[in-house]
Amino acid sequence: MQIKSIEELKKIREKSMKKVNLREHGEVSGDQVEVLVGMATCGIASGARETLNAIVDEISKEHIENVKVIQVGCIGHCHSEPIVQINVPGQKPILYGKVDDEKGREIVKKHIKNGEPLKESIIEDTFDRA
């Protein structure tokens, strides 16, 4: 499909919005949980690929259906790579630092499955977005 006018772009945007509404504010309802894994060079170098694989694996092992794993770019907290963000509808997104594969599995089991965030691994984001 080719976008030939702003109206068409806006239509596509509306459709795509649903997908990402959760991202910033945790505003949407429903039960789709998102897992964002920082997969820029520095993330991958510190093991984000292993973390990602472990998370995907654990999700399927635990038979959790409502989770989407998304690869994103650099979040800027390179000192705490690998970085994982969990977006649960209706809740403020939570950012985890230094998530190795084991911690990735723990996040799936505790946070996603049982709704208990891993307090000690949470990092605060320190910026506003334009």
Binding site: I3, S5, R129
Partner: protein
Amino acid sequence: MSSFRMNVMVCGGTGCMASDSNEVIQSFEKLIKEHGYSEEIQIVKTGCFGFCEQGPIVKIEPDNIFYVRVHPKDVEEIVKEHIIKGRKVERLLYQEPIKRERIEQHKKMPFYKKQLRIALRNCGLINPEDIYEYIAFEGYEALGKVLTSMSPMEVIETVKKAGLRGRGGGGFPTGLKWEYTRKSEGTTKYMICNADEGDPGAFMDRSILEGDPHSVIEAMVIGGYAIGAQEGIVYIRAEYPLAIERLNIAISEARKLGLLGENIFGSDFSFDIRLKYGAGAFVCGEETALINSVEGKRGEPRNKPPYPAQKGYWDRPTCVNNVETFANIPPIILKGSEWFSSIGTEKSKGTKVFALAGKVNNVGLVEVPMGTTLREIIYDIGGGILGGHKFKAVQTGGPSGGVITEKDLDTPIDYEHLMEIGSMMGSGGMIVMDETNCMVNISKFYLEFTMDESCGRCTPCRIGTKRLYEFLKKITDGKATMEDLDALKQLAYMVKDGSLCGLGQTAPNPVLSTIKYFGDEYIAHIKDKHCPTGECKALAKYSIDPENCVGCTACAKVCPVDCISGKVKETHVIDQSKCIKCGACFTACKFNAVIKP
């Protein structure tokens, strides 16, 4: 969204809803309508600000004013005082609690968040390989707006008024560059994106391309339209495979949706982008060398003038802009030049991304409004110096910049101020050093880099950087005299004055600025043959203090060359002729008996 001059953001999170934020929203709606501002002021119900305890929260944008505990009856005052007269309502502002608490709350308080992300707005938020996610965050709307409702000159005016300056290092006004290229004669013109990023330690451009490639693509099309180009080229170093892969995916997705190619947005404007891989030479980041390299020639700078805007790629008018510069364009088009120019300092608008590295706790990417101080970046965002050490200096501008010391930490950073204190903005590398870093060694490190990267075209740079390096080596080896130091300084100025391109012109900066601020360290190396930090191995001389040594043998055990002798419970001695200065004994001794120079 763009036509509103002000946004009133009222928190609609669960916490604030419980404390009547719905009524607050209703009062705003009612009062703003009554005063006839509905067209100009938008009321936005947002998600939780993370400060529910102080709710309901109201934030006024772009003023970035944060009101707490706003009751429905307070709304009238905010509308009359702030919105109409532009005065803050003091009593509703967030009050700093006692100092300690403030620090604890700080990161949670958007009010205190020091970072503002414009160029990095989507990084870490969207899937860079999915164009629909970019679109969901207003992606390609700026392009749509430009192609359907703005003339090229209007685009240029907007960018000029915004005050955006090149983020590749020079800080040249972007709108002006676009205007020059547009006004140059010729029908075939080119838009080039400089993604060479050669500054050691810098990785902001890579992160943007990896995290949000569409923002650069969209901006290149907008720029192409503004200057009258049909073709864009991204010059990217081959060492950035992931950025290349994501760019390629993004370009093909954009083509599929008709956002690149023929008749974009149904207009008669056509534009496409291709990649050109660089071999990773620092000098190829210099725009004329870059153009040579794209043409398949050696990456050597050309003389300027003529500038690329007049005669660039294949002698046609060419505009070269940096990745981060581009990433700022879509928000400027959408939110307007006034929004952008309201951020930053008088002559430097918007934000700058820095790659914070070295001896600081939170190494990473930061994007702060121009005018933020180095102290804020290093301490508030960077979390202070690693391992509780003492701050010594910070290098900005990479190999072209200089060191900044404690006394200038409160300087607001922008292009002008950094020049004033003897450094420069550069592309955004920021390396923090503590008291264990030897400044002579640091400048030697940068000189070694520029010496290796000199393209060799002109003598002052080719030979000069090598001689500068040799002088520095002599100093750190303890073989230099005070005459050498004078000669070093003189040569530094000669290289600056005599070199053809920016590489040579700025290469001596690290030397000159370290001499200026840490002259005593140079003198210690030369006169006392002593490196105050112990970093220069050739000058290091480890010895054992008989007063403190208890004869525990720990040092003798770790010495890799077995040059420490002594019996148990007796003073130990180092055989200087064999010592390789590894420092292992110094670390091993628990009694402060090993003396480091």
